[in-house]
């Protein structure tokens, strides 16, 4: 028997509300099936299961809000059912939930198994000192929610005490912010918008408080990139036509390979390089607010494939139908305000990431090159990066490589 737990659907998610079960007890599930709809305060997210089996017992009914890591349901392997003591019975009544002893089958592999949610990297054992663990137990503080400032980023006693006192304080502070909208009869949409706003506020506040940003900017002549897109699109059916955006994402991924110190997370006083290049794409919502779903392994995908995924992701984000995999931890983010007419955007880093690339609008500009003045379609690319994790040299390398890709798109 294995346990299916409330996954961590983002570094800042501590709780999730079960909105709707898509499976019932006794249902057979396969790895990748959407089994659950979870409200994370940011969005409703369809959660997949990562193990085959039979749903044995649903422990958290719809409507309940539980911390990340809570067991939502138990799963028994299919084999166990086949071999169970009911060989011929055609439709046996579901057996009462029971605890099976004996060798435990492999545990459910979920995006975030243990109650590991916030500041420390998901999936990594929480590093806390013995004293910190003791005090956390005494004060009832969830270690996973504590930022460590100790040796190698370990949580030390003082961090736990700080977290405990911070936890004690906000209930008195937050109403000032949230009371007004909540007093009005509010719709679920309005509530969600308010929650999204709060989450953005928290993340951005933390970013500007903790992250020493540095900013770089460069202009890129995208004439060849646009010409390449045009030629490429002539070969494609209308539904598969490419936009500039996926090419920009590809260029970011290539840029990151030249400056790996910009791809990853700053956790507990140290940089942890990302495994793979997972780009968080800032998507603005029509009702206000934004989401940053993740395009995974951008460095290993072609522009056409990225286009499809980006289209799909944008659509689902705006419908509030993101899946668990969509909101897995990104290693770098991209913000693109080009379609709003803005020429330059300097993003604010989404912690614990260490960089965000900003793209503005492509405009025709006077362009001097090789001693000649011409008019070219130009794009302003910016980089905001965490000076704790990298220096301007690294940022410059990223932008230089990105520029190279945009000026020679065949190689993207």
């Amino acid at each position: 028997m294995s346990e299916f737990r409330m996954p961590s659907l983002g570094a800042d998610m501590d709780y999730g509300t079960v909105i709707e079960w898509r499976v019932a007890e006794g249902d057979r599930v396969r790895r990748g099936d959407v089994v659950l709809l979870v409200d994370t305060e940011k969005a409703e997210i369809e959660v997949e299961i990562w193990e085959d089996g039979v749903v044995e017992h649903i422990q958290v009914p719809a409507g309940q809000k539980v911390p990340v890591g809570t067991v939502l349901a138990t799963l028994r392997p299919e084999a166990a059912q086949a071999g169970a003591a009911m060989p011929a019975a055609p439709a046996p009544p579901a057996p009462p939930p029971r605890i099976e002893k004996g060798p435990e089958p492999a545990r459910a592999v979920l995006p975030a198994p243990a109650p590991v949610s916030a500041p420390q990297e998901p999936g990594r054992r929480v590093h806390a000192t013995p004293l910190a663990r003791r005090i956390a137990a005494e004060l009832g503080v969830e270690l996973a929610s504590v930022v460590g400032t100790g040796i190698e980023g370990a949580i030390q006693a003082e961090d736990v005490r700080r977290a405990a006192s911070a936890r004690g304080a906000p209930p008195r502070e937050t109403p000032a912010v949230s009371a007004a909208p909540e007093e009005r009869p509010s719709t679920p949409q309005a509530e969600r918008r308010a929650a999204v706003r709060r989450r953005i506020a928290e993340a951005m506040e933390r970013s500007k408080r903790e992250i020493p940003h540095y900013y770089l900017q460069t202009e890129v002549d995208v004439g060849r990139a646009l010409a390449w897109l045009e030629a490429e699109n002539l070969k494609r059916p209308v539904t598969e036509r490419l936009l500039l955006a996926p090419l920009l994402l590809k260029a970011v991924a290539r840029g990151v390979t030249a400056a790996p110190e910009l791809n990853g997370h700053w956790v507990g006083g140290a940089f942890r390089p990302g495994a793979g290049v997972h780009v968080g794409v800032v998507i603005s919502l029509r009702g206000g607010g934004l989401l940053i779903p993740t395009l995974r392994d951008v460095d290993r995908k072609g522009v056409g494939e990225l286009m499809g995924e980006l289209r799909d992701l944008t659509q689902r984000a705006r419908q509030g139908r993101l899946r668990g995999a969509d909101v897995s931890e990104a290693t770098i983010s991209v913000t693109n305000l080009g379609d709003t007419g803005v020429e330059t955007v300097f993003g604010i880093i989404y912690p614990p990431q260490v960089a965000i690339v900003g793209f503005g609008r492509v405009t025709e500009r006077p362009w001097a090159e090789d001693g000649l003045l011409g008019v070219r379609p130009a794009l302003t690319v910016t980089l905001s990066a965490d000076h704790r994790a990298s220096d301007g040299q690294a940022g410059a390398r990223l932008l230089a490589e990105l520029t190279r890709v945009l000026r020679d798109p065949e190689r993207a």
Binding site: T129, P130, L131, G148, T149, G150, I151, A157
Partner: protein, 325 residues
């Protein structure tokens, strides 16, 4: 009274020789030459050749003779010029002095006191710069003490002589010239307990012997950075005053062990291990160690300094233990 570590040791010898006629000093050059580090200078004239005895250059022979004298009812003080030469007497110390009480079924105690110089820092190169007191602290049957203050230099000898079992006193060569105030009536001190030399609540710096002054200097620097370090002087390396170590760790929740010995299989390793065995749940950081680099001690001054624990190393280790504070 202003005095030095060297003079305090000499005062202790003179006091012991005067108090008890069974006490005598023997070793290489302790008589006419006055001792390699001049600790026994003048004692030959004062107490005569019967009680201040120059020996041949044979550590095994004169340490063995000391054991025999102790068995015979005397209270010998054997000076081995430095710990480096004690290796020639290891068999006598480890196989005889440490075991005879046990081997004789409790009949034969060995009330021997052995003094020796230890440590590096004087450009004496790899063969004359060992810090091997940790080796001796490994051996049951021996008591190992390391005076690091004037009070202990003056007071540990008599208490060691009163102990019915062998006691080895390690005097760090860097301490002999240390000057300071000592009470006129300073006398015997215990050889059981560690002592807090500086109180503080943020981090425990556990040390002994030659690295005590460096550790105190590091604590001063840390105080300038807003960190109050507690400095614990072990004084007795065997048996370790565990209770004092654990009590300090319980106050500060962080420990740095400073030891001039090499890191591998060292006294510092033993202390760190005991802290995690017995005070694990008090720890708010992994135990840090500052030890000598694992190389033969180099002769050139800059390399020797680089190899040995220095004040900056202690400060850095303490800051490491403190994390981002």
């Amino acid at each position: 009274m202003k005095t030095t570590y060297r003079e305090a040791l000499r005062a202790a010898l003179r006091d012991a020789l005067a108090r008890d006629p069974r006490v005598f000093l023997m070793g290489e050059d302790v008589g006419r030459y006055g001792g390699c580090y001049a600790v026994s200078r003048g004692l030959l004239d004062e107490f005569g050749p019967e009680r201040i005895r120059d020996t041949p250059l044979s550590e095994s022979a004169f340490v063995g003779a000391g054991i025999g004298a102790a068995l015979g009812g005397m209270r010998p003080i054997v000076e081995i010029m430095t710990v480096n030469f004690s290796l020639l007497a290891l068999d006598q110390l480890v196989n005889n002095a440490a075991t005879l009480l046990h081997m004789s079924g409790g009949q034969l105690a060995v009330p021997l006191v052995v003094r020796m110089t230890t440590g590096a820092g004087r450009q004496l190169a790899a063969q004359h710069s060992h810090s091997l007191e940790g080796w001796f602290a490994h051996v049951p049957g021996l008591r190992i003490v390391a005076p690091a203050t004037l009070e202990d230099a003056r007071g540990m000898l008599w208490t060691a002589l009163e102990d019915p079992d062998p006691v080895l006193i390690f005097e760090h060569n860097g301490l002999y010239a240390m000057e300071g105030e000592l009470d006129e009536d300073a006398g015997p001190v215990d050889i059981d307990r560690a002592q807090v030399r500086r109180a503080g609540g943020d981090v425990s710096l556990v040390t002994y012997g030659g690295t005590l002054p460096k550790t105190l200097a590091a604590a001063e620097q840390l105080a300038g950075q807003g960190v109050e370090a507690e400095v614990l002087d072990l004084r007795t390396l065997r048996p370790l005053d565990e209770a004092a170590i654990f009590a300090s760790v319980a106050r500060t929740h962080r420990a740095v062990v400073v030891d001039e010995g090499w890191r591998s299989g060292s006294l510092s390793a033993e202390i760190a291990a005991r802290i995690q065995e017995r005070a694990f749940f008090e720890l708010d950081a992994p135990v840090q160690r500052v030890c000598t680099e694992e190389v033969p001690i180099p002769y050139p001054r800059h390399l020797e300094e680089a190899a040995l624990p220095q004040v900056a190393d202690v400060v850095e280790a303490a800051r490491r233990a403190l994390g981002a504070r």
